[in-house]
């Protein structure tokens, strides 16, 4: 999450400006501290405070400090303002027209992602894990279904609030393949702390492969145990979750069509392991109190069955 260093043109100019203003700030603080210390010990008096003698015999004087101090501050300020405006302009638009638009829909407390395409057959929905191709600007359209959230992937760029009733637009670009963590930044309720996401920057080839994978619908399994798991899923989970290619078409919770391709669960809460997944299905309220997903009273056999089914969602 640390943005001392950033990895793309949406963030880099900000990082440079941030360092610049930070250094100016530190220098200003040190210079004033030194002047203050100098003033303190230059003519420090140990005499009693009720000593009748004043340090000066007339009221004026010392104005040079204000003239010079404010003058120098103003010059520095104007330079910084100019630099700020230039940076503002440079990060407000991507260097080239983004080829890819991702519609991000935030809700308490996870992210739904819709990859759009002019070709409707290449449009798909996933959740909490954003893949982008390296070296290309990606446009994000941000919407909220409930309260205000903020979309923030610090190592790639600044944040943009996600506000119900309006669609904010931002862009990001990663110049280096890797995983960049993001997190909701505007307080949005009980689990604001646990509303993370990941941006994974793939090489264009890997990205294309990922896209193709995501477009696949789940095949109907021939295995009886998987089918049993699917039945449990349909009974307990399908009202909220979609699995394309099955009857499950709920839209309240994340689309789980390719659940097993994701690195984390429950909006970045923990790694996607069998144990975590089982724990999450059995008792989400213990792990993320207040989350929309209720504790289902599934039996051990049902849990095993549903895990078996989810494991096929590669």
């Amino acid at each position: 999450m640390s943005y001392w260093h950033t990895y793309g043109p949406a963030g880099d100019p900000i990082t440079k400006l941030g360092w610049g203003l930070g250094i100016v700030s530190i220098v200003v603080t040190v210079v004033i501290a030194v002047m203050l210390l100098g003033g303190l010990f230059r003519r420090r008096t140990k005499r009693a405070p009720d000593d009748a003698q004043l340090a000066v015999s007339r009221e004026g004087g010392g104005m040079g400090w204000i003239y010079v101090g404010v003058g120098v501050s103003t010059v520095i300020l104007i330079i910084c303002m100019g630099w700020t405006l230039v940076t503002s302009a440079s990060v407000s638009h991507p260097p080239s027209t983004p080829a890819l638009t991702v519609q991000v829909t935030a809700s308490q407390w996870w992210w739904s992602l819709r990859y759009t395409s002019d070709d409707m057959s290449r449009t798909f929905i996933t959740a909490n894990e954003i893949h982008i191709p390296v070296g290309q600007p990606v446009r994000f359209e941000l919407a909220s279904v409930d309260v205000i959230h903020s979309f923030w992937v610090p190592q790639l760029g600044g944040k943009m609030d996600v506000i119900p009733g309006q669609t904010n637009v931002t862009w990001l670009q990663a110049d280096k393949p890797g995983v960049y963590r993001g997190q909701c930044a505007v307080f949005c309720g009980a689990e604001h702390a646990l509303m993370a996401l990941e941006v994974i920057a793939d090489t264009p080839r890997d990205f294309r492969a990922w896209q193709d994978d995501q477009l696949r619908e789940t095949p109907i399994s021939s295995s009886a145990t998987v089918r049993a798991g699917q039945k449990v899923f349909q009974a307990h989970c399908a009202a909220c979750h979609t699995i394309r290619g099955s009857d499950a078409a709920g839209i309240v919770g994340p689309d789980l069509t390719h659940l097993m391709s994701r690195r984390t669960l429950a909006a970045g809460l923990f790694p996607n392991t069998q144990g975590n997944l089982a724990g999450w299905i059995a008792a989400p309220q213990g792990l993320k109190p207040g989350a929309q997903m209720p504790d289902h009273l599934v039996s051990g056999t049902d849990l095993t069955a549903v895990l078996g089914y989810l494991n096929t969602l590669q």
Binding site: Y3, G18, L54, E59, I66, T84, I163, Q166, C188
Partner: protein, 647 residues
């Protein structure tokens, strides 16, 4: 009195607190005593002390809330608090510190000091002053009514919609906050009006507008600012309450309402409020620091003008709280530039303080240490504000711990440090006893070191990506060690604050006797006894310079001297001198009202009105309206004996 007096040539006399005339003044001004006297008092000194004590109690409550939060955040994945408990705590911490401590504590100083600084015997509207205190107290209690039920406000102090709307927050939490803030707004508004009129009307003869202490400029500016800012937030909270309870749609997205409308209204208030809670505190330093530097403040006029300029600019910067909301870049550039321009008046003040120290002969008292500590914290809080004023940088910094660090440097650095210094400075005037200097220096160093250890690392946490208002965080992000340091540092800071309170309690009983002017300070309040008599001044002083008690040592001409011993006697009842607005020439004799229960009754009825509204108890609401009407009528009933007298 058979005939109403409309004209009198006031007697000019020489008198002190030991003169027979002062016995008359004492009997004129003294209240009933006992519980009855306490409840009906309109004495500005009494009200000022109540404000100070109440504000410090809220400081302790807010501090305890912070202490619990810091325990929760000390390590990753702590389970001390549930998310909902944490959210209520951080909300109430902010609400308490910002609304129930930071401004009221300054109102305490100003209420106590204004008439003494201005050479008057009371504020312009003593009963309004009492009302302002009682409403503040009841609003503070009101804001806490749902806390024991676990239903305290829980959407942060800026209370963004739609999370604050009924759909997402169905409990009473937000209704308490909304109504409590409207109630508190009444207190702030009447208090502000009182300060403004007092400044325009109550200055001692000769105290022209360019001779008032900087604290007066600070509180005046804050009061004018509040008059313009508070209506925005009262309106916003009222609209929110209507949305929640009566189905209006101001902020309801599904019916075309606007979440951003809330943010605009809130920050149009919120940012000027920040200046309202720092400018009077900066005034405390601008007045106190010169005393210990043994010289007048460098650049009185630029500092006074900078105070006003800061507030004026402060009304044009609110959007810098909203840089990430998707507003057009060109609009944000304007607000960014306006925010940065505030560096200029701020640097006027900083260089004035530095120059005052540099060209003075500093005496290292506890009060002085707090004032100097303040200067450096002011600079740190200022430059971090300058960084967040830059739109692109703010897109990273906003909503993170960097902002938490910044706002604590502002509120603790620029409010708490001057306030504590101000208590050390004026404690002998208020109580007649000096505070313990050795303990005072200990408390300074513990507070100063604890504060910086506790709050500086928050800047780094912010840059390490830690968002604010999260109740927990995973270990692998590496925020743990710094958070532990923050917790330990803030506990150290709390120990420093406790040492300060300990000092207050010990010194109240055992402090050295102070005398009238223990610091050899220059302003009028130090010409009175310590503590000042109930009537403040045996005669209304006449002022001929900015530093009446330093005259003769600064080379003014001899024929132009302030006079503290000889002046208008005004001993026919509660009287003080009304003067003209700019030049402070004697104008009329003002008759001041006697002690009264009407402010208390009115405030109580207002509180009940709001409780009625909260509970939807319309009969309670109606009954309290009747009481409000009766109390206001009794209050405002024309009394000939209170009409001003031409001179």
């Amino acid at each position: 009195m058979s005939e109403v007096e409309t004209f009198r040539a006031p007697i000019i006399a020489r008198a002190s607190d030991r003169s027979p005339s002062s016995q008359i003044l004492k009997s004129n001004w003294e209240g009933a005593g006992g519980v009855a006297g306490w409840l009906s008092s309109v004495d500005h000194k009494e009200i000022g002390k109540r404000y100070l004590v109440t504000a410090f109690l809220f400081l302790i409550i807010g501090g305890l809330e912070a202490a619990v939060m810091r325990a929760q955040l000390a390590q990753p994945n702590e389970h001390l608090l549930t998310p909902e408990q944490y959210n209520q705590l951080f909300t109430m911490h902010g609400v308490t510190m910002i609304f129930l401590y930071a401004l009221p504590v300054l109102s305490g100083f100003s209420n106590y000091l204004w008439p003494l600084l201005l050479g008057s015997r009371d504020m312009a509207f003593p009963r309004l002053n009492a009302l302002s205190y009682w409403v503040f107290l009841f609003a503070g209690i009101f804001l806490y009514v749902s806390f024991p039920l676990g239903k305290a406000p829980d959407d942060g102090w800026f209370n963004y919609v739609p999370y604050a709307s009924r759909a997402y927050n169905p409990g009473p939490n937000i209704d308490v906050y909304a109504l409590g803030m409207v109630l508190l707004g009444i207190s702030t508004t009447v208090g502000s009006i009182n300060f403004i009129v007092t400044l325009l009307r109550m200055r001692a003869p000769g105290m022209s507008i360019n001779r008032v202490p900087i604290l007066i400029w600070g509180t005046l500016t804050a009061s004018v600012g509040n008059l313009f800012a508070v209506p925005a937030v009262s309106l916003a909270f009222f609209m929110l309450w209507m949305d929640r309870q009566f189905g209006t749609h101001f902020f309801d997205v599904s019916a075309g309402g606007q979440p951003l409308l809330w943010q605009h209204l809130f920050w149009m208030f919120g940012h000027p409020w920040v200046y309202a809670i720092v400018l009077p505190a900066m005034g405390i330093v601008s007045d106190g620091l010169p005393t210990f530097c043994r010289r007048p403040l460098v650049g009185y006029t630029p500092v006074a003008l900078a105070t006003v300029a800061t507030m004026a600019l402060g009304f044009g910067v609110w959007v810098h709280h909203m840089f990430a909301t998707g507003l057009p870049v060109i609009a944000m550039s304007y607000f960014s530039a306006a925010s940065m321009i505030i560096v200029i008046p701020s640097s006027v003040a900083v260089f004035s303080w530095v120059a005052t120290i540099w060209t003075g002969r500093p005496v290292f008292t506890s009060a002085f240490l707090f004032f100097v500590g303040f200067v450096i914290l002011f600079v740190i809080g200022g430059v971090s504000g300058f960084m967040t004023a830059a739109v692109p940088v703010d897109l990273q910094l906003t909503h993170t711990y960097f902002v938490v660090a910044h706002l604590h440097y502002v509120i603790i650095g620029i409010n708490v440090f001057p306030v504590v210094g101000g208590i050390f400075y004026w404690f002998p005037k208020i109580t007649g006893r000096l505070m313990n200097e050795a303990l005072g220096k200990w408390s300074f160093w513990v507070m100063f070191i604890g504060f910086n250890v506790g709050f500086f690392p928050m800047h780094i946490l912010g840059i390490a990506g830690m968002p604010r208002r999260i109740y927990t965080y995973p270990e692998y992000l590496g925020w743990g060690p710094l958070n532990l340091i923050v917790t330990l540092g803030s506990y150290l800071f709390a120990i420093g604050v406790l040492l300060f309170f300990l000092n207050v309690f010990v010194s109240l009983k055992r402090g050295k006797r102070a005398g009238d002017n223990p610091w050899d300070a220059a302003s009028l309040e130090w010409s009175t006894s310590s503590p000042p008599p109930v009537y403040n001044f045996a005669v209304i002083p006449t002022v001929a310079s900015r530093y009446p008690l330093w005259e003769g040592r600064l080379n003014q001409s001899d024929d132009d001297r302030s006079s503290m011993q000889e002046g208008f006697l005004l001993d026919k009842g509660r009287e003080t001198m009304g003067t003209t607005s700019l030049d402070a020439e004697p104008d009329v004799i003002l008759k001041m009202p006697p002690d009264a229960y009407s402010p208390l009754v009115l405030a109580l009825a207002l509180a009940v009105l709001f409780i009625g509204a909260l509970l939807h108890s319309w009969w309670l609401l109606g009954a309290s309206l009747v009481v409000i009407l009766l109390a206001s009528t009794s209050w405002l009933w024309p009394q000939r004996s209170l009409s001003q007298i031409e001179t």
